[in-house]
């Protein structure tokens, strides 16, 4: 078993996660650019976040997404719900993290093996500070979209495994031949 401290996030995961975030925003007509990682400002705007847990062959962890509430509201694909604005934004934030993780999995393709995903959970606050637990490998990413700071944290630990599988069960090798259906595609059987 790899010790948790040795656990590294492979370069391809970093690149694909960053690409997944940029592509998600692009699909909503918003330019999003990676920036050097930074924490939210002390006097920052009201933020919303969502986290989704996952478990693979020899790894488990979570993906968190945090962005200003206003930015999240501007991406809503449906008219604002005047009666339940908070609930609507929470639900949408959960769907955003779900779609970003889905894009990451699809980009990793067959190399990533099987991941089970949990139901996303939401949180809100001001100047939310995301920190990794001791022993976890972390990938903190930051982006700027429409002048807003967006943060994405991938947090993972290796799980004891008898087969000695690589924690991510992936390598930086080229993708396998199996075709992954891309976002927006339709397959009829």
């Amino acid at each position: 078993m790899s010790s948790a401290m040795e656990l590294q996030v492979p370069r391809s995961v970093t690149e694909h996660l960053s690409g997944a975030v940029v592509a998600f925003f692009a699909s909503h007509g918003v330019t999003c650019e990676p920036v050097a990682h930074e924490d939210g400002a002390e006097d920052g705007p009201s933020e919303l976040g969502a986290m989704v847990g996952f478990r693979g062959k020899a790894i488990r962890g979570g993906l968190a997404f945090v962005a200003p509430k206003e930015l999240i509201a501007s991406l809503l694909p449906v008219p604002p719900d005047g009666a339940r604005p908070e609930n609507q934004l929470r639900d949408w934030t959960a769907e955003i993290v779900n779609q970003i993780f889905g894009r990451l999995k699809n980009k990793l393709g067959a190399r990533a093996g099987r991941f089970q995903i949990g139901a996303p959970v939401c949180f809100s606050g001001r100047s939310i500070r995301l920190a990794f637990l001791p022993g976890a490998a972390g990938l903190p990413l930051a982006f700027v979209a429409n002048g807003n700071l967006v943060r994405v944290h991938l947090d993972c630990v290796s799980v004891e495994t008898e087969c000695g599988a690589h924690p991510w069960a992936i390598t930086d090798a080229p993708p396998a031949a199996a075709r992954i259906v891309a976002e927006g595609d339709v397959l009829l059987f």
Partner: protein
Amino acid sequence: MAKQIIIIDDSQTVRQEVRLVLVKAGYEIIEAEDGLEGAEAIRENQGASLAICDVNMPGLGGLEMLESLHADGGGAVPVIMLTTEGRPDLIARARANGAKGWMVKPFKPQMLLATVAKIAGAP
């Protein structure tokens, strides 16, 4: 009478997104928020023209729902999956359990409408 489409997704935003597109086109919508509710909605609405179903949902997921319906003989309502997943093994599992199609989120409204019209017919 308008054709009925069942939309099964744990995200209210996604259900509403689908609803807006399909209601505008003239379809009638039935919503369910997980696989258990979805299976019930399909069993109770055998006259529905189509069910559009998410994969990752708390409780009973979309593929598990499809498997349980398939084990019971499938029923008359065609099902297509609408999900962030694009993995071939999951798609094969859906197909083996009677699904008629697979769409990857986020969907384009015209694409959704064309797909629904192809399977369910005009509203």
